[in-house]
């Protein structure tokens, strides 16, 4: 049996409180890191642990720490990405609401390692409880001397504060998040320079996802070899998988990276609901390509999912049974990206809307011959031609479902209806489409040069 690490406190009464956290061995990692290790040693430990970012891109954390300039005269910053908004993903919200001190420890240790004395939490504006929990936890950590001046007598100072986002998925992209933290519209910046060179207020900034930071105290306490021993060679450590859709027990499951998809769906998540057959799985959140039922033995690791033609992303597993219309799934996800495009560059701003319109037409039984190829062309045109990685993300739902379920698209166009629920979804879509004024306005709101 796998022993949960990141979620070990979740489920304990009052898990968010500092007293509970301390009673369960909390802040010991901070003490060890700040009093027994040099910053260089800690960077080396994270490198040897093989920890890769849990925010979607999977970049090696230790390498990123190593990119931060060492010049002690240069102020540096750590920014915590709590903007979790990728459809299907709900792990960071759980970590922050239920065990915020674990993340704070990660922040302290990371800041100490890269020489940052200022840290910011950027949290999704909708996470009301999360905001409250962050604020309370930070206040308690200050009171106990884990934040502020001369932490635990180590001579290291760190200030941490919370900034709320205000409803824009793109602000999860690290440079858009920095713009938003600076009080501006969340338009991504061109990279390079990377945040480690020029980040918040032009200062070197280390950006991490909440789950990545939650791993840090455990690496310090139990050692990099222990961490690297979990998972596969290229994907080490624990991972929280968010399972949603057609399973009996949706929820967050913490397991070693490399756990086969089948074990997660059939074992932990209790199998398919209603005993229906599996049709497709989106393994890593809305932006990752769909897998087919025969790929269910793929291990959930960075390298194996890449080989299977998808990506680990955020580890958000969306399970779809045989009754699911794949055109509708793609249409819905593409609509999300069209709403959330920041509007900065043409391929993403226009492409996402054209792609959505094309899928909408097909799903609603108004598809024209050639629409499938049109959708593929648009997906091709936005992938890799945009300012930030959103272009590649928004191309995936349409492209991967067309590649793997082209017959369903053809059926829609030939029969002017859905093969799956025979018009159930479409009827509803039709009825409501005229009234979708809120998001319709948003289409225009973010459109600016």
């Amino acid at each position: 049996m796998y022993e949960p690490i990141l979620t070990r406190n979740i489920g304990v009464a009052d898990s968010e409180k500092i007293a509970t956290y301390l009673a369960r061995g909390g802040y010991e990692a901070t003490r060890v890191a700040l009093t027994q290790h040099t910053p260089a040693e800690l960077i080396d430990m994270v490198k040897r642990a093989g920890l890769r970012g849990r925010g979607g891109a999977g970049f090696p954390a230790g390498t990123k720490w190593g990119f931060m300039p060492v010049d002690p005269a240069l102020p540096k910053i750590v920014a915590v990405n709590t903007d979790e908004g990728e459809p299907g993903t709900f792990k960071d919200r759980a970590l922050v609401e239920r065990d915020p001190h674990q993340v704070i420890e990660g922040v302290i240790i990371a800041a100490y390692a890269v020489g940052a004395n200022r840290a910011y939490v950027y949290i999704r504006g909708e996470f009301f409880l999360g905001v409250k929990r962050w604020i309370k936890a930070i206040a308690d950590a200050y009171e106990r001397g884990f934040l502020g001046r001369d932490i635990l007598g180590s001579g290291f100072d760190l200030d941490l504060s919370v900034h709320r986002g205000a409803g824009a998925y793109i602000c999860g992209e690290e440079t858009a998040m920095l713009e938003s933290l600076e009080g501006k519209p969340g338009n991504p910046r061109l990279k390079p320079p990377y945040p480690a060179q020029r980040g918040l207020f032009g200062l070197p900034t280390l950006v991490h996802n909440v789950e990545t930071l939650a791993c840090i105290p455990h690496i310090v306490l139990r050692g990099p070899a222990w961490f690297a021993g979990i998972g596969t060679r290229q994907s080490t450590g624990p991972k929280i998988f968010c399972v949603s859709g057609h399973v009996n027990r949706p929820g967050n499951y913490e397991l070693p990276l490399g756990t086969p998809l089948r074990e997660i769906i059939e074992g932990h998540a209790g199998g398919m609901s209603g005993g229906r057959k599996l049709k497709a799985v989106i393994p890593g959140g809305a932006s990752t390509p769909v897998l087919t039922a025969d790929q269910i033995d793929t291990p959930m690791a960075f390298e194996t999912l890449a080989a299977a033609g998808s990506a680990l992303g955020t580890g958000a597993i969306i399970v779809m049974d045989e009754t699911t219309c794949m055109v509708e799934a793609a249409r819905r996800l593409t609509r999300f990206f069209a709403h959330e495009s920041c509007g900065r560059c043409v391929p993403c701003r226009v492409g996402s809307q054209r792609l959505y319109e094309t899928l909408d037409r097909i799903e609603c039984g108004k598809g024209r011959p050639g629409d499938i190829d049109l959708a593929l062309q648009i997906a091709q045109a936005v992938d890799g031609t945009t300012f930030c990685p959103m272009g590649g993300a928004l191309a995936n739902p349409a492209r991967s479902t067309i590649e793997r379920f082209r017959g369903e698209y053809e059926y829609h166009i030939a029969h002017r209806q859905c093969a799956m629920q025979t018009g159930r979804a479409t009827a509803i879509v039709h009825r409501l489409s005229s009234g979708r004024s809120v998001r319709g306005q948003n289409f225009n709101r973010r459109r600016r040069p």
């Binding site: 979790e84 998925y169 207020f201 009234g435």
Partner: protein, 154 residues
Amino acid sequence: MATVAEAGTRDVSPAKRAMLLTALYIAQEQHGWLTPQALDRVARRFDMTPGQVYATASFYTLFKLAPQGRYRIQVCEGLSCYLVGGAEPVIAQVGRQLDLRPGETSPDGRFTLEVVECLASCGTAPALRINDELYEHMTPEKIDRLLADLVAKT
């Protein structure tokens, strides 16, 4: 004649500007939306033009530039909610019961129906939110009761 450097000093200090979103949240609290007067006030406080403040405020969906109902009902239309019976059926039910279409505020100013993308409750879908409160595992019966309570309360 102003030099470029002097023109540059008219920019707000970065640390001050970083408080803009917070200031907008506070300004919004009074009326539940950002009135033109509120935007002007924030602009003066930050030495910015109202246009600059508007550019930031209008980017974010949680900043409201029109009056909102006292109860804002946000229904998720994301894929995970849709798969388990949420999204459009829930939007339709709420809309029917409160006589609202998505994006509308009731004439008496009590309710606004909003459609949103993913509330990060996909594992406890279908989900909706009323003001600061999240409601998970929604069923038609639960929604009925929730709305009836809400109508009775207002």
